[in-house]
Homo-oligomer: 168 residues x 2
Amino acid sequence: MATEPKTLNDMFIDTLKDVYYAEKQILRALPKMAKAANSAELKAAFEKHRGETEGHVERLAQVFEIAGKAARGKTCDAILGIVEEGKAVMEDYGDSPALDAGLLASAQAVEHYEIARYGTLKAWAQQLGLTEAVSLLDQTLAEEVKTDELFSKLGVGSINKSAQPKAA
Amino acid sequence: MATEPKTLNDMFIDTLKDVYYAEKQILRALPKMAKAANSAELKAAFEKHRGETEGHVERLAQVFEIAGKAARGKTCDAILGIVEEGKAVMEDYGDSPALDAGLLASAQAVEHYEIARYGTLKAWAQQLGLTEAVSLLDQTLAEEVKTDELFSKLGVGSINKSAQPKAA
C-alpha cells in the first residue's frame, strides 16, 4: 500500500514528542544535579528551574491538545547523550572544586538543546497556523533563554572562580 | 595511591576534547545534509558552514597548543545523539516536502550544542588566564551564533513555507 509523504504537521508532532521526552528526563536530572552541587546559589538555581520545567511539561500537554494528539514522549537520543555527559562530570569531578563549573556547563548544554527545539517548534506552529501553540511555546522558549543567561551569570560571577581556588 | 582532585584546567581540556570530537562529527554530517537538502539555498548554507567548521577544528588545535596538550578527541555522546536524530529525519522524511525543515532543525540543534560548549570554554579560558584561547574560542562562538541566526532566517523566510505546499 502506497503511503502519502509525511507532512510538516507530522514533523511538528514528532518533535513535540522528542521535547516532551526530553523535559521528563530533565525533571529527573535536575534534583540529582541540585544534590551534587556545592554552591547554595547553584542548588537554588537548579531547584527553581525544576519548578519551571514542570510548567514546560504542562504547556507541552496543552500544545498536544491544540494539535489534536495525545501527549506522548519518544526517545530523544540527543538529551540522553547530554544527560550522560552530565553524569560523567559528576563521576569524574565529584571531589573536585571544579564540580559546580561542570554541572553548570551540563545544564547550559541542556538549555541550548531546548532553546533550539522550542525555537523550531514555535516557527513550525506559526507556519501551521497554530496561534495558541505559538504563544505557549514562546513562553517556554523565553524561560529557557532566561535560565541560560542566569547560568552564564552564575558561572562568571562566582562558580568559575570557586572552581579554581588557587590562582593559576 | 591517593590522587589529587581534578582541576578546572582538567575540565577545560576534557571539554576541548569533547568539542574537537563533535566538530569532526559535524564535518562528516554536513556534506550528507547538503546532499539530502532540496533547497539550493539550504545546500549552499550547509556547504558554507562545512568550510567554517574546518576553521573551527583548526582553531581548536591552536587552543590545545596554548594549553600545552596534544589535540585529541573524546567520544561526545551529546553530538552522537543529535546527529542520530538528524539521520532519523533523513530516513523518515526523505520523500516529504518537510525534509528541509527537518534538516534545518537538526542543524540548529547542532549549532546550539556548539554555542553552549564554546560559551563555556570561553568563560573557563578567561578564568584560567588563557587570553589567546579566549580570543580564538570567541571567534568560533560568534560564527556559530551567526550561523544559527542565518538558519532561523532561512526557516522562516522560505524553508518552512516550502515544507507545507498546501495551506492547512
